[in-house]
Symmetry: C2
Subunit: 452 residues, 2 copies
């Protein structure tokens, strides 16, 4: 079975669907409907006739039609019984939301579940998960109301997340920041399908450009090594590991019952598989942004262009600290830029266009840098506070970026006025960052991935 | 002369005031008016009769009344002449916005300016500055339109910033994030007044709780050592240094003409003076947030409380990595919490209240931790996505924080729904962070400052 049934099911049974808006079985059903799912939906509840205007069934066994995916959202003590019914109904894909298994020491139930999966040939995500989401097929089975958690628009990032809370909180945040997602997979205790299965599937998913991974423990190191190595050749994988200290590892054990393992082992694993290691959640998503949006660079020679001297200095410091190279522009480029800029500009690296820069000047300077073979990547600092830059800067940068000659990475910092322009740049496919050092760290991650 | 004339002037002359909205002399005058300055304002322009409904003068010498502060916003070639007129008019405080001096190799003018300052006993900020702002006296002399750069509300943070761009971009950003400021000082080339003078002044300023400093080079190391050591005993100073690498130092030279000096020297200087060193702009302001808002901790033993397991793990990792201590709660606290929480909760450190936590449970658990002497600091993770937490969480946390028993530091991540609650918590004086590791780094900075 391919995992397609989890992401493109033609029919879904929601086991534990409820009329009570406070029950997660209700929220899941509502979210499936609200997201605009087009297939058949079967609420399952032993007591209800109808839920959210849909006919309800006592059990999946009461349904005549075929069911592609069952979502189990009943208390742990009933989970095994309904799972067995799924088996009898020949449902091949089960998403087990229910919690209360090995993560609280309930190991016996795990064995029973495994036995049922094997007997009936069911593949399962979970238990102890938040749900899954596919922004391209409008499938939303996450058990958190859409009012509390903003769903991302369709895009190129997929997120495999062992912790539901990490997944939901960060997806909510970055969706609001305009990140586009392909798939979101919360996989909890990973009793059956685990990170390797999802890596493999997303590696082949044409909608996924970048894979983000929050990992507490790997079940099968050997397989992970093999799969990750293969997938990361096709597309970047960025991973953050929870439980990298002794104290953190202990916390992992009572969370998803995973063995966290030594951080040294994971660092080795990431290195061998060319997985990009994010040190924190912020890096996970800034790295995803650049790898989702930017073209591949030819080398690591960076030209900084700025309208704020201090920003140029901080960016320069970051370039050096991250062992990237400052480009040395050709004499011809230098002369051309000199002719087109004011006397208070500094034409070195950084090019400091100072506070009286106009959009027109930016246009000329970026263009010259795009055509200079000594430059691989343009780090473009545009502080929107300076008075002579108009909103036309968005069009200028977008047009130059559309030529796809080399990566253009933008840094812009500010309040509402800046945010507006930043959002417009991002909508046009340009990766933007708030701080110079986070942009440079992201460039470093990109260079490490493509140029290693 | 005290520096009060720069921040609480009874009258201001704007030299270079203009009717043309694109000229900085116009923008400054408009900002002074729009910010609600209550004193006398004299536009100076040789050609205008009236600017923005104010009578205009050809020179400061044409004004009969006393002038506390002159703002010079004319091209560099006229700056010396008008400065001399300020001297004749016995103006003691001059803010020199004009650029085009030593930062572009124009050293001769520097000497002339110094000579005039000495001759007339003028104190000057600048040249090559963005302007200054006092959010408590509503003085806004920054030359960037208020539409492009959000001004902060009155609060406890003061920012001494050698780079105008760093100052304007970051102040714009953090003002939008709800940070409150006392004074903002862009000091550019520091031909007369420098970072030491401002440190000294802000050290005595009752409105300033925390001093942020962006530094490219220190003019007088010996004085800096002495002043910073003294001031940092009274209130925290957080500094970021531009030009910490060889390449960055070169960029400094063509920016504010400062000698960047070796980073090792600065690290030593910061250490000796107990200045908190921020590695990037983000740290500068997250550290400022915690030091502005939080009470002083008694020790560094942290109790993590979370409703998301993965967040608890990441926070635990950060606590260990930053050499802070995980508190071990008393048996009594443990028992009390156990009685009041659900079976899927984990009562260790972190306390994981899981996804079905209610506001009421948070209330009980935080309260118990506040009264446990084994705990110095509470790191409170509240993921607003979980369905049973209501908006009443803001009131609960605020009320417990108001008891001022120990620092409560909140981490919450998400989109609009979360942002709303985060903003409400911050308005009630609780320092909030988006990511666990940035919160822990800020706690580390706070502990280093208070407990060293």
């Amino acid at each position: 079975m391919t995992l397609d049934k989890f992401f493109k099911p033609k029919s879904i049974a929601v086991i534990g669907a409820s009329r009570d808006p406070n029950k997660i079985g209700h929220v899941i059903l509502k979210n499936i409907l609200d997201a605009g799912y087009k297939g058949k939906i079967y609420p399952i509840n032993p007591k209800a006739e109808e839920i959210l205007n849909l006919k309800s069934y006592k059990s999946v066994l009461d349904i005549r039609e075929e069911i592609d995916l069952a979502i189990i959202a009943v208390p742990a003590e009933f989970a095994i019984k309904v799972l067995e019914q799924c088996g009898k109904k020949e449902i091949e894909a089960v998403s087990m939301i229910s919690a209360g298994f090995s993560e609280i020491g309930n190991e016996d139930a795990d064995e029973e579940i495994k036995e049922i999966l094997k007997r009936y040939g069911i593949r399962m995500i979970g238990p102890n998960i938040l749900g899954i989401l596919d922004a391209h097929t409008n499938l939303d089975t996450i058990f958190i109301p859409r009012l509390r958690l903003t769903r991302p628009h369709a895009g190129g990032i997929s997120f495999i997340c062992q912790s539901g809370a990490v997944g939901s909180a960060t997806m909510d945040l970055v969706a609001t920041q305009g990140y586009g997602f392909s798939k979101f997979i919360s996989y909890g205790n990973a009793l059956d399908l685990n990170e390797c299965d999802f890596l493999e599937y997303l590696g082949k998913d044409p909608k996924t450009k970048v894979i983000c991974l929050y990992l507490e423990g790997v079940k099968d190191g050997k397989r992970f090594l093999e799969v990750a190595k293969r997938v990361s050749k096709k597309k970047p994988i960025i991973a953050i590991k929870g439980g990298i200290t002794e104290e953190g590892s202990e916390a992992v054990l009572s969370h998803t019952a995973s063995l966290a393992g030594s951080f040294e082992i994971y660092k080795g694993l990431f290195k061998q598989t060319n997985i990009i290691h994010a040190k924190n959640l912020e890096e996970l998503f800034t790295f995803a942004r650049i790898l989702d949006k930017s073209m591949k660079p030819k080398g690591n020679k960076i030209q900084i262009i700025t309208n704020g001297g201090g920003y140029g200095i901080l960016a320069t410091d970051s370039v050096s600290e991250n062992n990237l190279k400052l480009a040395v522009m050709s004499t011809e480029t230098r002369k051309k830029i000199k002719r087109n800029t004011s006397t208070i500009s500094t034409i070195k690296n950084p090019i400091d266009l100072a506070g009286d820069v106009t959009t027109k000047t930016y246009d000329v300077v970026i263009r010259e840098c795009l055509y200079d073979k000594n430059i691989d990547i343009i780090l473009l600092i545009v502080l929107m506070q300076t008075p002579l830059i108009g909103s036309d800067i968005v069009g200028v940068i977008s047009e130059l970026n559309a030529q796809q000659k080399k990566p253009i990475i933008v840094v812009t910092t500010g309040g509402d006025f800046t945010e507006l322009h930043k959002r417009n740049l991002e909508l046009r496919g340009i990766p933007c960052f708030t701080y110079p050092d986070s942009a440079v760290k992201a460039i470093k991650a990109m260079c490490d991935y493509y140029l290693h």
